[in-house]
């Protein structure tokens, strides 16, 4: 443990000293010409998706992984690498908008000269990261599964043992109590959701390629996840569930002339997955923003002089480490919460008629 402390301390100090070296000299060189650091732009740029996977900038050259762009515009299908846009070039009539409604997105000019969005299913940074972690997840789980296929009852050791503990913990402590007796049918889906979110959250915390993309902090991702839960809830909803939505057990005047309660219940049906979607999205987005904001502290304080910059760099790195650890926790908690709430919603949709419940009691 002490050695670990030492290593972390050395790392923190060396990183902050490196930051000091490279950036403390810059204001001296560029003097008053030093640009104002656009923190908001920087953070938003990271949080948003992009057509290439930017890794770093060495000198004046960007080091980025080009990703395939797939478009269907007015001239049919177009497939090319995103490196074609490098330096703001136009390619096959398409370009990346620098401002306006479609800022940062690929647009083409229509006959009237207006910018319009083609059908864009490019494999963006998020999509690539998503595919990478999906493949990784399949690999991990299938690796674990393979050691169970031998059909020998033995206690697993090492990674498989850890994964077994992890999986059975979610299965027994989250899914089972939340859904109830027929949890078996839904456990594989919910476990998939849990590990999908957890892995993507973790990948998002790794700052270098192939991690660092804001995948679970993207609303498209959380939207699909929430949609899946929504669809499952509606498909497996029992008669009693639909009865509780459209004809709830409330005084008659609340539902007959004006269906107040049914309306509220119906809204509730949609707010549940909506809450799922927003919760995950907002939490991960916020985490990424905080880490980025703290990192930007180094660059923002450059103007304030060497002393201030140095001390703030140290503070920034320390805080980043702290927030990253918190984010590690959040990565788990959000996956946990999403799974648990999905399980609760499924459990609510699997209600049994009340009178039979009373009989049991």
């Amino acid at each position: 443990m002490r050695r670990l402390h030492k290593i972390v301390l050395i790392l923190v100090l060396s990183v902050s000293v490196m930051g000091l070296k490279s950036y403390a000299n810059e204001p001296a060189k560029e003097g008053a010409a030093a640009e104002e650091v656009d923190v908001k732009g920087l953070i938003l740029e990271h949080l948003a998706d992009s057509y290439e996977w930017h890794i770093t900038k060495v000198g004046e050259t960007d080091i980025a992984v080009p990703l395939p762009v797939i478009l269907h515009g007015s001239t049919g299908w177009h497939v090319f690498m995103s490196s074609a846009f490098h330096g703001g070039h136009e390619h096959e009539g398409f370009s990346i908008a620098h401002e306006g409604k479609y800022k940062g997105k690929i647009v083409e000019k229509d006959a009237a000269g207006n910018e319009v969005r083609p059908l864009d299913i490019s494999i963006t940074k998020n999509a690539a990261s998503l595919m990478f972690s999906s493949a990784l997840l399949i690999l991990i789980i299938m690796f674990v599964t393979r050691s169970y296929k031998k059909g020998v009852f033995e206690s697993k050791k090492g990674f498989v043992g850890f994964m077994e503990m992890f999986i059975m913990n979610i299965n027994d402590d989250v899914i089972k109590p939340c859904i109830g007796k027929d949890y078996r049918k839904f456990a594989p889906y919910l476990l998939t959701v849990f590990f999908f979110i957890f892995l993507n959250n973790l990948m998002g915390l790794i700052p270098i390629f192939p991690g660092g993309a804001n995948v679970t902090g993207n609303i498209a991702i959380t939207f699909v996840l929430a949609m899946c839960t929504f669809v499952i809830v509606q498909i497996f909803g029992t008669k009693e569930y639909w009865k509780e939505v459209f004809w709830p057990d409330v005084p008659l005047w609340l539902k007959v002339p004006i269906p107040i309660m049914p309306a509220i219940e119906l809204v509730g049906v949609f707010t549940k997955p909506f809450a799922l979607m927003i919760r995950l999205f907002a939490n991960i987005l916020a985490g990424h923003s905080i880490v980025l904001g703290l990192t930007c502290l180094v660059f923002v304080t450059v103007k304030l002089g060497v002393t201030m910059n140095t001390s703030m760099s140290v503070v920034s790195v320390l805080f980043s480490v702290f927030i990253n650890l918190v984010e590690l926790l959040v990565a788990y908690i959000q996956a946990y919460v999403f799974t648990m709430l999905s399980a609760v919603f499924i459990g609510l949709a699997r209600v049994e008629p009340h009178h039979s419940n009373k009989e049991h009691k």
Binding site: D120, T124, M142, T145, Y148, P188, T192, I219, I221
Partner: protein, 166 residues
């Protein structure tokens, strides 16, 4: 605001990736693990139950064994007791028999002694008789050397006999 609008491309890829992941893992991944772990759990539970039963069974066997040993010990004691009794009885019997046999022999000896004594007495009597006859003979011979005396004697004896006859 663009952060809050889901992108078509990403939606498509997410749907595809998550669909594939979910399909593979729901079909081939998690159920295998869960089933295996749960069947292992039931296997362990059953094994524990069986072990418990075996333990109980063993206890029973042990108790039965102890009962058998107890029984044997009791029987041993009983047999020993019986043996002692039999021995005592035998000894007593033998003693009794020996005593009675001895008594009988003593009685027999006594009887023999009595018979022999009587024999001896008879013998002595006979000898005494013979002796007295002999002596009487001699005495008579000496006395009857003279003829008158012989006749006196005979007469007297005849008288005596006649007197005793009448």
């Amino acid at each position: 605001m663009s952060l809050l609008l889901p992108e078509t491309g990403l939606l498509f890829w997410m749907l595809l990736s998550f669909g594939i992941v979910a399909f593979i893992l729901v079909k081939f991944g998690f159920p295998v693990i869960i089933n295996m772990v749960e069947s292992r759990k039931t296997y362990i539970d059953e094994s524990l139950l069986i072990a418990k039963q075996a333990y109980i069974e063993m206890d029973k066997v042990k108790a039965a064994g102890e009962a058998i040993v107890d029984n044997a010990r009791r029987e041993q004691v009983q047999i020993l007791n019986e043996a002692t009794q039999t021995r005592d009885l035998l000894i007593k019997d033998a003693k009794d028999r020996a005593q009675s046999e001895g008594q009988k022999m003593i009685d027999e000896a006594r009887k023999q002694i009595l018979i022999e004594k009587e024999d001896a007495i008879r013998d002595i009597r006979r000898q005494v008789a013979e002796l007295s006859v002999d002596i009487a003979e001699r005495v008579l011979r000496e006395k009857l050397e003279k003829k008158g005396e012989q006749m006196d004697m005979i007469n007297r004896l005849l008288d005596e006999i006649n007197i005793s006859k009448s």
